[in-house]
Amino acid sequence: VGIQTGSGAGILAPRRRNHAVWVGLVLTFLGAITYFTYFARFADLRDMPWLNLAVLWIGVMVSIAAVWRAFSRSSPYRGRILGTAGLLLSLVLALLFNLYIFKFSYALPAPTAATLSMTAAPEFTLSDQRGNPVALADYRGRKVVLTYYRGHW
């Protein structure tokens, strides 16, 4: 009737490609990069990037699964070396992104007591983006939003 074939998991059978290696790394990469390129422009996702963190950690888990199945006994999957390298890269990316979100971006000096308590706004005259002088005193009689920003945008 039919021809009996090998079981497929024999020692000499070619092992299958381990796509989880790449899927894990790409997810981790996307989780970190798309925060800066896209999601940070939405205030809620910028302040608490739960979506980026979720994609990032799912990527790490897929990378762990890739290594797990590459090393399991009589595994039909390849990717022991690439999978391990991919997992290490995923973990480094995840660590850096979490450090940035939960630690580095808090690295601001504590505001001085004077800044928190002063009531009279110090006067100044500075040049605007077209080189025209602008004095705070010019705005007397109007409400002013005075904002300081980091620059280099």
């Binding site: 601001l108 605007d128 025209n132 007397r140 939003v145 904002t147 300081y148 920003y149 620059g151 280099h152």
Partner: protein, 90 residues
């Protein structure tokens, strides 16, 4: 609205065009005004000292009536909050 940074006028002009900003972006390269308000962030930028993100609301007499000094440079006060606070100022 007045915005202050250490950026030179050319960079501020690029930013104003790119972001469609019509209000003055003021250059304080010597950080004199930034220091007057106590908002210097030492070595905060790639090129040295910069201003920390900060927002002050001034009433019509030039008094500071509200301020926000975020403790995280990613997390800034929302525009709606600033408008709400402005509405409370006579």
């Amino acid at each position: 609205v007045l915005a202050v940074s250490v950026d030179p006028a050319g960079r501020s002009l690029d930013l104003a065009k790119a972001a469609g900003l019509s209000y003055p972006l003021l250059s304080d390269p010597g950080l004199e005004v930034i220091d007057a308000y106590g908002v210097r962030h030492e070595d905060g930028g790639l090129e040295g000292d910069i201003a920390r993100p900060a927002v002050f609301i001034l009433d019509r007499q030039g008094n500071i009536v509200w301020r926000d000094l975020t403790d995280n440079w990613r997390i800034r006060v929302r525009p709606e909050r600033i408008l709400a606070e402005l509405g409370k100022v006579p």
